[in-house]
Point group: C2
Chain length 162, copies 2
C-alpha cells in the first residue's frame, strides 16, 4: 500500500464528516504565499478556517511568474485584498546555490534548467524581495496590504519582516 | 484591525502549544500539488500530519515551470517519491478563458501578461495534462507514482482521474 493509498483512506473519514459546500470566493479576502515545507501547516499556524483564504505554496515561498499569475487571478477574479508571505527558518532553500543545483541536474540528465532555482542566503532579504516583486507587478491591483513573515520551526511563531 | 492581524493573534495561540521542531525532509516522502482554492484544506482532506509532505499550490493546481522547479527540489534535494495532484469541482479556472482574462488586464493597465493564465474547461483533462507535464519533464527523476484527483467541494471526496 502506497502513502497515497493511506491518504485516500484518510479521505474516506474526512468525507464522512463533511458539511460543505462553501462559496468559491475566499470569505476573508486574503491570499497566503508560503513555502511548501512539510512543517508549515498554514491552517494551524494562522488559524485559517475552510473557505477563508487562498493558499499558494512553492519551494521557498518565493514570488515567481506563477505566483503573480495566481495572485492576479485571486485578486482580479475572486476578490482578495490582503497578501501574507511566509518563509521559515531551517529552509531547504538556504542549503544550496542555483549554480550548483542546476549543474548537478546538467551532469545527470544533460540539460540545464532554463529557470532559476530561487535559492537564497538570507531569509529576511528574500521576504523583502518577494514583497517587492508583488508591489512592482503591473498585474496585481492591491498592494497596500502585503506583509511578510518568517515562521520559526522551533517555536511555531511568525516574526514579521520589516 | 486587518485580517492579517487577526491571523497573527491566532498564531500566538498556536505557538503557545507548539512542540517542534521536526526534521526538514518530508517523513512520508510525498509532494502534493493542489489548487489554491480556499475550500481545499489539504491537511484535513488527506489527513496529513505536520512534517509528512510538501504542499505546492497555485491557481488551478496546474503544473507550470514553477511547479517543476518545486518538484525538482522536492525530489532531488529532499527525498520525496510520490506525487498527488488535486484539482476540484466548482473551480474558478473553469469560469474564464485565458484570452478574456488577459484582454481585461490589457484594457485596464495597458500590458498583456506574457504568461498563460492556465484556465481550463475540463477538470479531468487538465489533471491528465498536469500529470503529463510532470512525466515528460527531464528534471523530475521519479514519475512512477504520480496520481491525480478531483476533490468534490460538495461531498469532501477525492475522485481519481484515470
Amino acid at each position: 500500500m502506497s502513502v497515497t493509498d493511506e491518504y485516500l483512506a484518510n479521505n474516506d473519514a474526512y468525507a464522512a464528516g463533511f458539511t460543505g459546500p462553501l462559496p468559491l470566493p475566499p470569505s476573508r479576502q486574503v491570499a497566503v504565499v508560503a513555502c511548501m515545507d512539510a512543517r508549515l501547516n498554514v491552517y494551524a499556524i494562522l488559524g485559517l478556517r475552510d473557505g477563508e483564504a487562498h493558499v499558494i505554496r512553492n519551494a521557498g515561498g518565493v514570488v515567481t511568474q506563477d505566483e503573480i499569475r495566481s495572485l492576479a487571478i485571486s485578486q482580479r477574479l475572486l476578490g482578495t485584498r490582503e497578501i501574507i508571505l511566509i518563509h521559515h527558518t531551517d529552509c531547504g532553500m538556504l542549503t544550496f546555490t542555483d549554480d550548483a543545483f542546476k549543474q548537478s541536474i546538467q551532469d545527470e540528465v544533460g540539460i540545464k534548467p532554463a529557470w532559476a532555482a530561487e535559492a537564497f542566503a538570507d531569509l529576511d532579504e528574500d521576504v523583502r524581495q518577494s514583497i517587492k516583486r508583488i508591489q512592482t507587478s503591473p498585474f496585481i491591483p492591491h498592494t497596500d496590504a502585503v506583509r511578510g513573515f518568517v515562521f520559526d520551526v522551533a517555536t511555531g511563531r511568525l516574526i514579521e519582516v520589516k
